[in-house]
């Protein structure tokens, strides 16, 4: 941006018609003595002419009359002429002209250079100077192909998870988290899975290399759980007839979020209480389109007086409804820690009935040793499967997609 000067309207007029004081002095020189009233008829800007003529020492004014003294060059005349011919002037000279209002400062910039041209971009200077009126804003080809912008986004899987979280919070569930490295005790034993249960082997659970064993915080709890396995303790159960306490101490990567349900029951803040979690579990498996060795589970428990099987089914239905699934069916199922157990199946237009909603009422062998004497409804959602349906993908690996292109282009759910 540069600062330039240009002629004012007055400057232009005087350049063309001459200065009023010059006209004045010509008349006064000829007459030597002139009545002001007479001059009024001859000269437009008389006051200005009188002021400058007096300042230059050309005239004397007395009793309504103007008397001639001398005639010298008008300094403004040369300066104005030089300015109009673009001859360089000093700052002082420019200030003189500016002060008299013959020239004015103008901000000269891009805008001026664009005047009269066709332009694409409406430069802010064009708007500020009003020069937009003097340019031609060209028309665009609005059908032209343009590369799409890349917005920052949530991961598609995150969208599904957050959608579900929101729904569960609305249903009155409190969110909890638990550790990925877990004691076998919480993952299996507290859930009344027998020590030699097939799902506890190295093909179903990741074992920690070292250190191998965790801590026993509450010995009394361990005794109750152990007794329940061995002979049922006070639960009214026969028990499994055996318990491997050392195996219970073994550190593993949790294979089910139910480990957190057991922990939550043990530390239950109050009743009634509803807990949920959506978090990772780990299981040795083949790695292919349908299986991965870590995945998210969503699970919840409801603790209250007098809860029953009908309540459980109603909750399962409510949860699927909150996911916009209306068609639900229930069939008997088996989990070591619940009885009765149920599998909720939802209807999918293309896949038919799919199992996504296991649930049940925790066995007394689970709840009583943890100090809970009320019914506990428990359920889980196969969230990976649900997310795959919701996102329209058929490869589980897409949930942890390495493909930036897919992430950038996948529309929001």
């Amino acid at each position: 941006m540069t600062i330039k000067y240009e002629l004012t309207e007055e400057g232009k007029k005087f350049l063309k018609e001459g200065f009023p004081e010059n006209k004045l002095i010509e008349i006064v020189e000829k007459e030597q003595e002139v009545e002001i009233s007479k001059l009024k008829k001859e000269i437009d800007a008389l006051n200005i002419a009188l002021k400058w003529a007096k300042d230059f020492g050309w005239i004397r004014i007395e009793k309504g009359k103007v008397f001639f003294l001398k005639k010298t060059d008008n300094p403004f005349e040369k300066l104005l002429k030089d300015f109009s011919q673009n001859k360089p002037l000093s700052d002082k000279e420019l200030t003189m002209l500016e002060k008299r209002g013959l020239i004015k400062k103008v901000v000269k910039g891009i805008a001026d250079e664009l005047v009269g041209k066709e332009v694409a971009v409406l430069h802010p200077d064009l708007i500020k100077t009003g020069l937009w009126r003097k340019v031609k804003l060209i028309e665009y080809d609005v059908k032209e192909k343009v590369e799409a912008k890349v917005p920052g986004k949530e991961h598609p899987y995150r969208q599904v998870i957050n959608y579900l979280r929101q729904k569960l919070i609305e249903l009155g569930f409190v969110e909890h988290f638990g550790p990925y490295v877990e004691l076998n005790f919480w993952n299996c034993d507290a859930l009344f899975m027998p020590s030699d249960h097939p799902a506890r082997g190295i093909h179903d659970i990741f074992y920690v290399k070292k250190p191998k064993y965790g801590k026993i915080i509450d010995k009394e709890l361990w005794r109750r759980v152990g007794q329940t396995h061995k002979n049922g303790w006070k639960t009214g159960s026969k028990g499994w007839g055996a318990w491997d306490a050392r195996l219970a101490k073994r550190l593993i990567l949790r294979s089910q979020t139910t480990a957190l349900s057991a922990r939550t029951l043990y530390n239950l803040p109050k009743t009634p209480y509803k807990m949920f979690t959506i978090d990772k579990v780990f299981r040795p498996d083949v790695i292919d389109a349908k299986h991965f060795i870590e995945f998210e589970q969503c699970e919840g428990i409801v603790v209250d007086e007098d809860l029953n099987f009908r309540n459980l089914l109603a909750y399962l239905k409510e949860i699927t409804r909150s996911l916009d699934i209306e068609k639900v069916r229930f069939k008997p199922s088996y989990f070591p820690f619940t009885e009765p157990s149920v599998e909720g199946m939802v209807w999918h237009e293309e896949l038919g009935w799919i199992e996504v909603l296991p649930g049940g009422i925790f066995r007394p062998e689970v709840t009583l040793p943890l100090g809970i004497d009320k019914p506990v409804l428990a359920w889980g959602i196969g969230i990976g499967r649900l997310a795959m349906i919701k996102l329209g993908i058929d490869d589980i690996r897409m949930l942890y997609s390495d493909d930036l292109g897919w992430l950038r282009n996948k529309e929001l759910i």
């Binding site: 917005p151 920052g152 986004k153 949530e154 991961h155 899987y157 995150r158 979280r165 569960l168 919070i169 249903l171 009155g172 409190v174 969110e175 909890h176 988290f177 550790p179 990925y180 490295v181 004691l183 097939p198 190295i202 074992y207 920690v208 290399k209 801590k215 915080i217 049922g232 639960t235 009214g236 159960s237 009634p272 509803k274 990772k280 790695i287 060795i293 209250d304 029953n308 099987f309 009908r310 309540n311 089914l313 109603a314 229930f330 069939k331 199922s333 088996y334 009885e339 009765p340 009422i361 066995r363 007394p364 062998e365 949930l399 942890y400 390495d402 493909d403 930036l404 292109g405 950038r408």
Partner: protein, 545 residues
């Protein structure tokens, strides 16, 4: 869970009534197993492990019969006429036998018996370790039967062979020997059944060729051995149940120990008391005592009333029943899950998101606002990627004792390596690439019950020609400012980063992470060709400051 292919013809013959495929599938599913496929020949069903009495087609047939209200004949065991002398066998101390008489076998049944034995030993037998089963042609067994320990040099002709070989050779040379030798790895006293002619069974490995069951077999000798008395008895009971349901005559065998003796299979029912009130309370129903009794009959349980209490006879083959609550489920199954009226309890509770998740969500929104794409990567990784490729000092991390892939052998202690390998896989996509992940890492911590803990972290990277340290720092400042935090930076050094381009980040005097430009040598390790600036923060810590 075992998936079992039942022969449809055999199943319907045992049920004693024709059903359409649809009705059959419907009944089976109401009983709990899941029908996967019905073809002309077979019906393929996934059976839950609590019901091993469904592992045999005879057991499933009985359950269908009960559910459909058809009568079942009750066959009793015959008292023992055969004795097995049992010596001390340390490796497999528990043993039970049975005899099945006057059977008519065909090709299908011989194969079926082998398959049944396989299913039982794989499930309740825990792949033969806990329980192994052998079936033999009784008429090929000569004289007195003894169960004893044999030394590895004793000989037998294993099934499918013609040459005699030592037990040691059986373990080394035969297919089954190689598969199951590990079960006997701690002993040189091998369990065997012998008769006058020598070893005819080598549990849990192989039977002898001499006593193998064929289509011509008329009488069967069953041996069950194992390391758990309860499981051995359950297995012989289940076999007796299946054979009796088929209409075969099952005879007990007297197991004679040095000082005691008993007959197997015992097949003893148990009784369990359940109150009507308990059942109704659990199910939310108002069933009368008589209604419950008739419902229980539908699932094969006899019950008698004793005031408010029901005395339920749990048949010996229902090994899943441990507690009255198991009877409650049977009532529910008989009542039919489809018939329950749903009812939400009235209690109101207040839902709440976890504080860490609320904070993570704020961080996520800000990162997205600054144009970053969220990614989600696995927690499981490997030390090569976590440390070596990063030129970073190896940290003590949680490693897996039984990994399934070299790619996933430990848990991540920082997020950055995953973000770099993500960039490496996306070199074909437009730059700049701005990505972030909010996720848990797992670090060792001896203060914890599990000696480790999850830590929530944020990592973001900018990759592209103009990916400068200052741009990343500007993003970080934008993030922290909007979280109401002020950062102080301190020059730091680590080989992962270009010298002089790494800073530690402090908030309220606590170090919460780093920001820096990646060392080109690390870029090369990952196959990256664009500069990368990265920032990783412990947002769990940040939240508290």
């Amino acid at each position: 869970m075992p998936v079992i292919a039942y022969n449809k013809k055999d199943l319907l013959k045992l049920v004693g009534q024709e059903f359409s495929d649809e009705t059959l599938a419907k009944i089976i599913e109401k009983l709990k197993p899941e029908v996967e496929e019905i073809s002309e020949e077979e019906i393929i069903v996934e059976v839950t492990p609590d019901r091993p009495d469904f592992y045999g087609v005879e057991g499933l047939a009985k359950a269908i019969r009960d559910f459909a209200g058809l009568k079942s004949k009750e066959n009793k065991l015959i008292k023992p006429s055969t004795e097995v002398k049992v010596e001390k066998v340390k490796a497999r101390p528990y043993v039970a036998c049975a005899i099945v008489k006057n059977v008519k076998l065909d090709d299908y049944l011989v194969k079926y018996l082998m398959n049944l034995q396989e299913i039982l030993t794989n499930t309740i037998g825990r792949k033969r370790k806990k329980v192994a089963i052998g079936l033999h042609d009784l008429d090929k067994i000569k004289g007195k039967i003894v169960y004893r320990a044999a030394n590895p040099d004793e000989k037998m002709i294993p099934l499918g062979h013609i040459q005699e070989m030592t037990l040691k050779k059986v373990l080394e040379k035969t297919e089954k020997g190689k598969e199951f030798a590990h079960i006997l790895k701690n002993t040189k006293q091998y369990p065997v059944f012998v008769d006058e002619e020598g070893i005819f069974s080598f549990p849990p490995i192989l039977n002898s060729d001499r006593t193998k069951v064929t289509e011509n077999t008329k009488n069967i000798f069953v041996d069950v051995t194992g390391i758990d008395r309860k499981a051995v008895m359950e297995a012989i009971n289940l076999l007796a149940f299946f054979f009796l349901q088929r209409g075969w005559k099952v005879e007990q065998v007297k197991m004679k120990f040095e000082k005691k003796s008993y007959a197997t299979p015992e097949a003893k029912d148990q009784v369990i008391e359940v109150s009507v009130d308990y059942i109704n309370k659990m199910l939310g129903t108002k069933l009368s005592r008589d209604e419950i009794i008739s419902l229980l009959r539908k699932v094969g349980l006899k019950a008698f009333s004793d005031d408010d209490k029901l005395v339920v006879v749990v048949p010996y083959y229902r090994i899943d029943v441990l507690h009255p609550v198991d009877i409650v489920e049977d009532v529910a199954i008989a009542y039919d899950y489809d018939n329950f009226e749903l009812e939400l309890p009235k209690t109101i509770t207040l839902g709440k998101a976890h504080e860490l998740e609320i904070f993570s969500e704020k961080v996520r929104k800000l990162m997205i606002g600054m144009g970053f794409q969220e990614i989600m990567t696995p927690v499981l990784t490997n030390k090569e990627k976590q440390y070596k490729m990063m030129l970073a000092k190896e940290e003590e991390c949680v490693e897996i004792a039984n990994p399934v892939s070299q790619e996933y052998t430990c848990m991540r202690t920082w997020l950055l390596p995953n973000l770099l390998s993500f960039l490496a896989k996306n070199k074909r996509h437009a730059y700049p690439q701005k990505i972030f992940e909010i996720g848990n890492v797992v670090v060792r911590d001896d203060k914890e019950e599990v000696l480790a803990k999850n830590v929530r972290k944020l990592c973001f990277v900018i990759s592209g020609k103009k990916g400068t340290f200052h741009e990343a720092k500007a993003c970080l400042l934008g993030l922290l400012k909007n979280l109401g935090k002020q950062a102080v930076f301190d020059k730091s050094y680590a080989r992962t980063f270009i010298k002089g381009r790494l800073a530690s980040i402090f908030v309220s005097g606590k170090e919460i992470g780093f920001i820096g430009e990646i060392n080109p040598e690390v870029l090369e390790n990952f196959g990256l060709e664009m500069p990368v600036v990265a920032c990783e923060l412990n947002i769990e810590k940040l939240k508290e400051l």
